[in-house]
Symmetry: C3
């Protein structure tokens, strides 16, 4: 802080209805300026002031940026990655398995917890922040990996076989010869190492949560601030962390969601991030620990957008919306990233709009919090398939998954996420399976059974291709699921804009084409929904649908575009009898709903566009919570640009 | 292999007419799982099975991928390159000069040769695979280079002078001061180091061939699997290996040729690779050790293409066509690269087409094998000019050479390749010389003499520019060849699409322009075929032609495009009186011919297009070997899409 | 040299009127082939020959390329940079602070100076060449930096505070913990390190000049060959050197200026480089130590361009025009860079045109040399703002500064450059301030006072944003200058081609748009010259102008294009009453003027285009110095393509 203004900040927070702050994160060097020398005065001061002001505090355990003295004393704290050893400076540069890092961190955490544990302002704890393995892969990590492999594969012969290590003379005949994986070209080994690195995060956060749990009060929660695969914004499934595994050691899932704004604001990332996070703990509500206020310069919200975003988070099941950060930072790296306040700390238009959100949360919170959702559609993702697919492409896994998600979002179909560890997939009516490149037999057989028992599945190309060790199946493709899908293929190629015969999905010449990838599919029992239109490939199917048992399996053998995705998803949603009233609306009119604590159905309608929109309210009579007026069924609802309506069914 | 299926594989090979396989390559770690522990059982098993099935075996000496134990024991086996020391994992990561690598390799080769040498299935040996220096340039290689330089330049003063080392204070005054060349900016030194690195490959393969020769039977051959400058496919002259020098230690030249397919299949790479490889040993027939079956996903052949390709190889003088690889690999790095069989090992459309090739080879092989060619046109390439040109550009050497080759290919002119070591260049009528940036006086004088004695030469810009040490000549440019060319220039510039005056080659406005480079040429005795059209440069010549003695020297002073290349090459081919009947056809109708073992002329006509083509057969009456029908002179031949005809003259 | 031709070279130089050469630069290894073994014979030989021929010699102190033996003996001479330790080979690879480098260099310089100091041919000395810190940042440099920081910030608490080091746990609590800055993400620290690195250059050249000064004769000058931010040519303010600081240790400023040519020749770089260099020593005339003759292949001059360039240098205040280099180099790295002579040493068209320049310089030199200029407009640049701006963007500092300079150049407004160290900025009528991202309070207050006292200032966006430590101001933006500008802003965004309301500068729809950056400005007392045209941002100002005291402050809040720049600069030039007769002409007609030694006004008119141009001479009667004819006021002057006229007012 350039100057002391705590009281003024708290006053402005209170004016804006802010009732929770996160502190301490990333302040290790301030809290322990020299080894063993602790100074918690700045934490005490803020805790006391917040408590006095009635604002709750979440404590961020400050382990994701290490102090100078620690690195000076133990340079091995800095991770060795395939690009060499990290340098001091950035956050997230340490080896999270390093013994000196762990020892120093534990000492600091215990001292801090001991000091603050009784403070009444504290509502919960966030262990570390946006944790990853940070590509740590130095000799000590390689040794841990070998130990892990020894346990998993007691027989080296077995390992050589399932990983195909004879290839290019990579065979390992005694454990002592195990080379560093950093140079490996064996995709099975690399995928296993990636999985091992994800397990390091699970272990590290479990270790940290365990320590915190020794001190915390029962009513205080432990969370983590998860983040997503980053493409300039929160884009897709996180590649480096097994979110579902880590979530098991937490009391509540937390997340940061950053997204394009201004004319590019669609709400898709808010919905996607929310659906993933809500699914981590089986539908339990979650915390949005960080989202943008002004954010990047190109994200400064248009009037109304900040409100639209905040209520969209609630509509996906969030129980908190928290901005990163309160004010803009004056030094160091991220001065360009603007908080609620600008560098001048003055009330600005973003802050003024935030005040209206705070006021509405206060007024309506009890009716909106803890929204429960029951979805009939799930997307099956897999960290293992993601790693495997990204080794070979085409493109990357999230670029297959996200467009399928977005197509469902655009047609207002509520979605859960499941992964191979999920135990209750049978409750869904439709499971969408993008690019399940690597999967164990059991998972594919389970999906076959799901169809046989009446479920619907939509697969994309490359699903079933390899086993859990990234070994390409030597059986008929698509591996195992060919049974439910009623198709087979043996060759595949890369289409240069090859049309589908007769534009079967009515998307027009511009969109009616296969791109990126195409499997040359021969139906066995499947009905063909689309054929390729090409002199050489015209005898092969592009999209098929197969009745199998009581269910239906749809298979898309090529790279689609948004227009085709929309139509294909529409087809499967309709085939699964899931087409309802909200599906008649479509983006930019976004409908979300759920049931609140009182058992009432809450319906949100968002206008994600710069033009005003009108539509006929398609459900039972309700109350507009924002306006406190009755809304009759079929009455016209007018939403201004970037506006929204919240209806509690009567 | 995911499971044992040797008998089934052999059965399928026999069905496809496959009569040779290559094995053992890249299996060091399987054959010698621990130092000194050998296990040849998998080789024995395959040799015996193949022998029983009547299939010959080529043994690949497996030195291009090193086992884990060797690197564990001797980490210095991994080459140090300008980017640091290589990591374990990939093939081709070793220092081929390393003593520990050599000792271990020799021990393994001798053990293996001792074990297998008597086996009747073995037809020949391939030493290493696609060998390169792999940029090895660590301290030991630098020391070898200094020793090499000491021998070549006993006087450091002389070295400093011819390499111009005074520049930027790079002078070396005692040998002990010789710095690592890795950081050098001296293009003479860098070119000499590149040449030295090429010599390491020649020495290494010679060493390996010598060992194998101690054991092999006289009737068994030794070959290498050469490859080409890679641009996503086999594109141009190999920069890192002196193919002509290595070929001297081999009995027969072998090569891998990979090329675009589907709509991009032209046959040019098959022809180019074949012409280079056939020229390595003065017209001796060669082996296509690897070429694509399904290959990359984007290369899966259209119906007919696999056949077209196979016979195109024969038409260039190949005596073998072998696919890499039999089946698609299930693990590691190259699972995306498809063999004849897919991962499922089932007969697929590619395999089915291969069966027809095998059947035709069996039927017609005796008439098609050992095709001898006599060409009047040669392209003079030079590894030294290539290195030198690529240091300075514009663009790269192969991007000058290949378009000139392709223009000749497109007009069905048969071509040999010669290099500065070639001894019988005088037998040609036309020599095409692309970008001969660096060359000794003697070579240029020899080319002058060739013209004087009645030969035709076509030069491009930059020819004669520097001497063999990459020192720019301080005489009139183009150096030495100005005598035969009757021109001079002193300045050069980069044209921004400058037209040639009056479109002299009738290529239309779009193509009538100089690009990339232009020399400001003043003719002395030459006739000007084209002038630049430009206010400042209009007084300079772009293309000239000079009568010199009994011959003609044509010089192109600027960067051409395909249209200009075609016309310029057409001009020189006609001027050299080499325009014949097959030149009236042109791509996509490709004509190839030669004389078979029985002294009969064999004529191939290929249709490299997706449309059927008809043409009048322009030669003497013959027999269609595929259809066993008579073909009269001037009769119409119809070729389907991707079809071809083979005619034996009567 | 490929052969000895000194006498011939000198004869050709004399023919061309060349009366000065630079030698010895970069020849350390020739002069001291082994440690302590000196050989000055080649220098003696040239000095004697030049003296005999009446040609003066500038000695380049050859320290910017180190000999092989020095690196062999002291490998630490090679700088350690963030990418590791440099390799031997290139020039400018050493650590200029290294004790072994300094000791060896000093010994060599003293030996050389002792040997040559009395030679009558020597006119002056150039210390080193194009000196930079070369990113030296190894442990010894880090230690020096810590020492520098200790002195600057006796209190670490203060340092932690002003640099904001608490962020991401970067706090330094004892000096011993100070980490290498190479990995730092703290922009304040990085900017301070960049400043420290610039100071290394100042110290190094001061040290070298001091040694030379001990030996040189009083009438001999000391200079340096400065160069500019390089974008394929001399583009903008040098980021790595504080030119104004270094100039204090020199007797005269020297510079190299390289620029696009042929159709891209505009003269802008000649003018820009000249204005910067002339400003280094407060208007003192300067030396063009290097500029292109033929240069890169794409720079070979059209007829007339070499002359046009030479006289343009004089018109900006140069007292020397020297080509790099005499002849083209035959070896090593820069063979592609052509000198006055080509590699063949023959008289060529470039040399022939140079002869006419030499003849005219001889004839007119006394009237043209020592041209004094008095400009009312200055551009305020800052190395600190440059470093800071380039950390955050958008784009880079020179891409903001150069277009503003070019707009003034195109309207024939003479410009000086000033920096924060300049003491007499009050003499200007208009100061243009591009992107002054980081500046101390005092500088901004001084600019406020400048306006208050009647001055005009034009600011671009981001000016005043941060203090001298790169800490974003926590006061109203634009920091401090909001007082003179009469505006305020708190938020900023990135425009996607947002128009200005009503095209206020009449630039047409294509150009009427904000790009790259836009501040959302609210005027307090300012008049708004342009508003944004946008549903959300339409209430914010884009360009404002404020009367403040007796002066006027104009502020441009967004990223402009050339068309808008021209109009905005025109507005401020007119508002400052600086619009004169030469401003009615415009590029490609370039007018320059000054007063010669005799107090006469010299006026240059250059035609920077390929078309002949005619204009009415707008000043007092004068004499054409080239033609020795009278030119009446308002008489028509005809300039051929790339032609020019020089008029001495009567």
């Amino acid at each position: 802080m350039p100057y002391d203004r705590l009281d003024k900040d708290i006053k402005m927070m209170q004016d804006a209805g802010i009732n929770i702050v996160r502190i301490a994160e990333s302040t290790w060097s301030t809290m322990e300026p020299q080894e063993g020398v602790f100074d918690f005065s700045h934490i005490d001061r803020v805790l006391n002031a917040m408590h006095k002001a009635g604002i709750s505090v979440m404590i961020g355990i400050p382990t994701y940026a290490v102090p100078t003295w620690l690195v000076k004393k133990h340079p091995d704290v800095l991770a060795i990655t395939p690009r060499g050893q990290n340098q001091y400076g950035p956050r997230q540069n340490m080896d999270i398995t390093n013994v000196h890092f762990r020892a120093a961190a534990e000492k600091m955490i215990r001292k801090m917890m001991e000091h603050i544990k009784g403070h009444p302002a504290i509502i919960g704890y966030q262990v570390d922040n946006e944790t990853k393995p940070y590509q740590t892969s130095g000799p000590n990590v390689q040794a841990q990996f070998v130990a892990y492999m020894k346990q998993k594969y007691p027989s080296l012969d077995e390992l050589n076989k399932v990983f195909g290590l004879d290839y290019w003379s990579n065979r390992i005949n005694i454990w002592e010869d195990f080379p560093s994986v950093n140079g490996s070209i064996n995709a099975s080994l690399n995928a296993e190492f990636a999985k091992f690195q994800r397990s390091l995060v699970t272990e590290f956060l479990g270790w940290q949560a365990k320590i915190v749990r020794e001190y915390k009060k029962p009513e205080q929660f432990i969370t983590q601030n998860f983040d997503f695969d980053w493409k300039g914004y929160s884009y897709g499934i996180q590649t480096e962390v097994d979110h579902f595994a880590v979530a098991k050691v937490l009391d509540v899932a937390g997340v940061d969601i950053y997204h394009p704004s201004q004319d590019k604001l669609t709400g898709a990332e808010i919905s996607f991030g929310g659906d993933v996070t809500r699914s981590m703990k089986n539908g339990q509500n979650y915390l949005v620990i960080e989202t943008e206020a002004q954010g990047f310069a190109e994200w400064v919200p248009y009037p109304g957008q900040l409100r639209l975003q905040a209520f969209s988070h609630l509509a996906s099941g969030a129980d908190m919306v928290s901005y990163w950060h309160w004010h803009s930072i004056h030094n160091s790296a991220e001065t360009y990233w603007k908080g609620l306040l600008s560098h001048d700390f003055e009330p600005n238009v973003t802050y003024m709009e935030a005040k209206t959100i705070g006021a509405d949360f206060k007024k309506l919170g009890a009716k909106l919090v803890d929204l429960k959702k029951k979805n009939d559609v799930a997307i099956l993702f897999s960290n293992e398939a993601l790693t495997a697919y990204n080794s070979f492409g085409p493109g990357n896994y999230n670029a297959i998954l996200r467009p399928m998600y977005d197509a469902l979002y655009n047609m207002n179909v509520g979605v859960d996420f499941i992964d191979p560890s999920s135990t209750d997939i049978e409750k869904y009516k439709l499971i969408v399976v993008p690019a399940l490149y690597a999967a164990p037999d059991a998972l594919l057989q389970r999906l076959n059974a799901f169809v046989k028992n009446g479920g619907h599945v939509l697969y994309t190309f490359k699903s079933g291709f390899a086993d859990e060790n990234n070994k390409v199946r030597n059986t008929i493709q698509p591996g195992i699921i060919n049974e439910a899908c009623g198709i087979t293929y043996s060759e595949f190629t890369v289409p240069v804009q090859i049309p589908l015969k007769g534009d079967p999905f009515k998307v027009g010449a511009e969109n009616n084409k296969a791109e990126k990838w195409m499997e040359l599919i021969t139906p066995t029992t499947a009905k063909v929904l689309a054929w390729y239109d090409h002199p050489a490939w015209g005898k092969y199917a592009a999209v098929t649908q197969n009745k199998y048992g009581k269910g239906l399996a749809t298979y898309v053998g090529f790279g689609t575009n948004d227009a085709l995705n929309d139509k294909i998803l529409q087809t499967v949603v309709k085939d699964a009898s899931l087409w309802g009233k909200d599906q008649e609306l479509k983006f930019p009119l976004i409908a979300k709903s759920g049931v609140n604590r009182n058992g009432k159905t809450i319906r949100y309608y968002f206008n994600y566009s710069a033009e005003a929109k009108t539509f006929a309210y398609p459900h039972k009579k309700g109350m507009s919570l924002l306006n406190n007026t009755k809304i009759e069924a079929q009455s016209q609802i007018n939403l201004p640009a970037w506006g929204f309506e919240i209806i509690e069914e009567l």
